[in-house]
Symmetry: C2
Subunit: 407 residues, 2 copies
């Protein structure tokens, strides 16, 4: 009666991706990680992200993760036959995810109406920089610009007056990934209402903007501005409302994060750095006073940290039971015992690259975990398989589609 959810809770959900770069492919990566079946349409030259970052023999390492658990079908969407093929696939899918510029899919003959004509209860997710409507709808969707408009770039900076350098980019394409995560959340919400026993059986259309996704993370920024005119300011390595909590230099050129911003933790830290006198100082008594005098306090802590290596600092802080860590680079992430224990760092067989180090699956679902079934495929690796399986195309049909440049 019930299907077995062999590869995680999304086993049985079929998703068609017409995406490229980061946002839509990240969305389908996390859907696939929890068991969804992903069919990715790619142009003959492949998703541009295959050219990004480090390569081995022309094969991208990032792609091994970004494309995992997906089947790749090559289609030249400028051809009318390819559009027919897409509609044939849509008929057999639950969900379509795309991140072209708003309106572009419709101009190809794949607008919402055309899609729903073949699959009335399709769930459709449009992902874009600024959304499917409004005055900015047609602006180019560069991630760094969306992150700046969402308010994140302004706050990712040293405190005003501290540095002449510009605010930094968050080290990854965070706006695109957030939009992908929100799209995945919305898609699964829509199929729940559609498919559940008391559900309404209806398809839904979602419109996920990178800018909106970033803005929705901004905590109290908007209400505080609206009510008090307060413009939230960056605080560099510190937390605005608690001290001491920052990154401090070691003697060997690394950074140690220390979060000792409660009374018991601050007492432990004062003792560890042999400055019990700090506890008697009115200017460091209580969190509010420490926040007010944080520059002086952090200078005292830096005097201590800068005399010790990162290894010594970690040992002493851990022994004293004070929350702390070195700032992990790729090297520390890859060898961290907790990540390895939890399967968050694991080797995966990749047909093109051999054994590749992959990030694991989030969330961990202990009684029904997702799986990494295969690494990112080559361009069009599954074209014949999918078009045979879904549309009953024969080798001869495929050969002529290939000859005319449709697949």
């Amino acid at each position: 009666m019930t299907e077995t959810a062999q590869h995680g809770p999304l086993t049985g959900l079929r998703v068609l991706e017409i995406g490229h770069f980061v946002a839509a492919p990240f969305c389908t990566r996390i859907l696939g990680d929890l068991g969804a079946e992903i069919i990715k349409i790619e142009p003959p030259q492949g998703d541009p992200v295959r050219q990004w970052g480090e390569q081995i023999d022309g094969n991208s390492l990032w792609w091994s993760v970004h494309g995992r658990n997906k089947r790749s079908v090559t289609l030249n969407l400028k051809s009318a036959k390819a559009v027919e093929i897409v509609l044939g696939l849509v008929e057999k899918c639950d969900v379509l995810v795309e991140n072209f510029r708003p309106g572009q899919l419709a101009r190809m003959g794949l607008g919402d109406d055309a899609l729903r004509a073949v699959k009335p209860d399709l769930v459709i997710a449009h992902i874009s920089g600024f959304g499917q409507d409004g005055p900015y709808r047609d602006r180019a969707a560069f991630g760094v610009i969306g992150e700046a408009i969402g308010g994140l770039r302004y706050l990712t900076d040293h405190a005003p007056g501290t540095s002449d350098l510009p605010p930094v980019r968050v080290g990854v394409s965070i706006g695109d990934s957030l939009a992908g995560l929100y799209a995945a959340f919305g898609i699964v919400s829509a199929v729940w209402q559609r498919d559940r026993v008391k559900g309404d059986g209806k398809g839904r259309t979602m419109d996920v903007a990178l800018t909106d996704s970033v803005l929705s993370m901004m905590e109290g920024m908007l209400p505080e501005y609206g009510a008090l005119g307060k413009v939230r300011q960056p605080t560099g390595s510190r937390i605005p409302t608690a001290a001491p909590s920052s990154a401090y230099p070691s003697s060997d050129g690394r950074w140690i994060l220390i979060a000792a911003n409660s009374e018991p933790l601050f007492a432990k830290l004062a003792s560890l750095i042999r400055r019990p006198d700090l506890l008697e100082e009115p200017k460091f008594k209580g969190n509010r006073a420490r926040v007010e005098n944080v520059v002086e306090l952090d200078a005292i802590i830096t005097t201590w940290t800068s005399q010790l290596t990162i290894v010594e600092l970690e040992n002493r802080l851990t022994t004293a039971d004070i929350p702390s860590t070195q700032v992990y680079s790729a090297a520390e992430c890859a060898t961290d015992p907790q990540f390895i224990h939890r399967g968050m760092v694991r080797e995966v067989d990749d047909e093109l690259l051999g054994r590749v180090l992959h990030t694991g699956i989030v969330p961990h679902i202990s009684d029904n975990p997702g799986t990494i079934r295969w690494a990112g495929p080559s361009v069009g690796q599954h074209t014949n398989e999918i078009l045979g399986e879904f549309l009953s195309l024969k080798p001869d049909d495929l050969a002529s589609l290939r000859a005319e440049g449709t697949i």
Copy 2:
């Protein structure tokens, strides 16, 4: 036959939150935004986040957003009667979300077995800093430390050798919010498989770690390290693989982001800044050459930007159709015409605070949008209502529970 999904696709899903701070309450905020019914258990002193950030008459502005669409029930979980009440509520809920330290709920008598004894198909989401198992399971879950361990802090910095200042914190509690988003995605995935017509009817347990959530965003970092030993490095305001794309100073002390890293866009920029000669220079020909000589190139662009105000820069760049924006602070976010058009910045009535500026709902689901039904409630505002409605407690029962400090 079918229920109407009046408040979005999650109408009909009932979620119990035993959470505090950011991760679990953010998870339930976005579930509630799409229509889920949220019951939040709070200690008599309230969620600590009610004390964070700016207040008006002791009421938190952030809470107005963070607590919206939730009903608040006060319970002192140290009392055995309160634990019984929680189990009574669990029996009538689909999902439980919590973010205590691992094991703490079990020690209170609310372990997974006890929960499943009253509601066998309950979906349970445990959110924590490092996860429910492994060598770091019992470490304190400070967000800044989890972000550093996930690899994000290292990359959110100026390029090596550029600055003596430490890598900056992303301006919001990004690790907690990511964990909340992943939990929401996992929860809805689990209820889909449980509730769908061909589903398995089973509850599932998920274990969402802040560290894992951050690591899963790190793109090609792990595979590139594993295969090539390459430790990805921060690039400050720039993008590692494309130029020019950075933040440049205006004459009035602001920053303008310019992303002119394709051949046509670079040609437009060279023309706008009256340096057509750059197009003939071998060191700026093609993206690869521009990335290699980015310091020199950015200095040339800075010479131009630093002579113009932010308003002039935005006008000229927009007229030339070059992707660009000023770096938005709260003030620009709150008044942006696109955000206002899309309802991403909107006023909401708050019983305690009057009209409050809220972030809108993501994703936009055009044919079934979510709603903001009310702003964050006061502590225990719905205790009587919920305990009456779900457990049929009478005014006398409530009075004695209140007298003995259980509610």
